[in-house]
Symmetry: C2
DNA sequence: CACTTTGTTCAGTACTTTTTGAACAATCTG
DNA sequence: CAGATTGTTCAAAAAGTACTGAACAAAGTG
């Protein structure tokens, strides 16, 4: 029932499984992307299930998440009712999708949080206030810097 | 037995718990760093245990990890046998420690991995070889770019 | 040296996340 | 439309991760 993976496939998939780990994404998502990345032709859900030996449920959900930040794109196959997918190989598109999907929300949240803390500062005794004010200013600085590095880093990935 | 946290402490700790999540570090590590970050004076293990309501084991291990990338530094308190800690507030130092401790190893591993895959390329039929070669080259490019962005991003954090 | 204080370690437990698989919905096909 | 094919959803199970607490080690104290 299950097709064995070639050495090459295993190695490449392994790389993406590790990357998934770093990004705190499920293992299966790394497997799926890796498989599609190294597949000359688009694959359908059942191809993935057979090749990777994971369940159809995982595969369906995994591809959904990968599509959500455009790491994988659907390919129309004439005369075939099944959905086929290839890996998006342009790093810029993936990173862009991932950032706006998973990173930006955190940064935005942080910003309003720091704002809230600044209000709490008013209630402190003058003595402690000084220290707290310094720390909050520092937090704000980090915040700003994170927001500044992002677009820059994205831009660093220019050609593709 | 346990000291309640002030509003300010809660808010700040919350921020660092979120950051810990993003970096896939345990929640307790975020709590510890947050607490120390907003504490005017150095704290000992038992202070942390009482303030955060976590176990001594977690605290000990958490501080060990925080020390491993210099996010926290021991402070000598004359006449006190206990170990005290403050948060390292210089972003550059923390990020530097974190990178060389948790990021660099991944990048290095990736590099040798890509090298290994290139060897496997030899065993492919000319037809598939072309596609595989393109993909591997792409992987290599990402690799290189990641290695290039890092020092640059670190440098971006100049003043402190 | 017996006792106290402090920090570490680690097996077991609690919790969280991911995966499975079966039921379902949607769409196609003859 | 009845039956088949394909994809999705979600409750339950499995796997993975972090936390606890008690036992231990190390070092100080009287």
């Amino acid at each position: 029932m299950s097709t064995p993976l070639s050495e090459m496939e295993k190695e490449v998939i392994d790389i993406f499984v590790r990357i998934a780990g770093v990004l705190s994404l499920p293992r299966s998502i790394g497997e799926l992307y890796g498989l599609l990345f190294i597949s000359p032709d688009p694959l359908c859900i059942d191809d993935c299930v057979r090749k990777l030996g994971i369940s159809k449920g995982s595969t369906s959900q995994g591809l959904k998440i990968l599509r959500s930040f455009a790491a994988v794109k659907p390919v129309y196959m004439p005369g075939d009712r099944r959905d086929f997918f290839t890996a998006e190989a342009e790093l810029r598109k993936i990173v862009g999708g991932f950032v706006s999907e998973q990173v930006r929300p955190h940064l935005d949240n942080g910003k309003e949080r720091v704002a809230r803390i600044q209000l709490l500062l008013a209630e402190e005794t003058p003595e402690r206030k000084e220290f707290f004010a310094e720390r909050i200013k520092r937090l704000e600085g980090w915040q700003k810097r994170a927001n500044a590095v992002l677009p820059f880093a994205l831009n660093f990935i220019k050609p593709d």
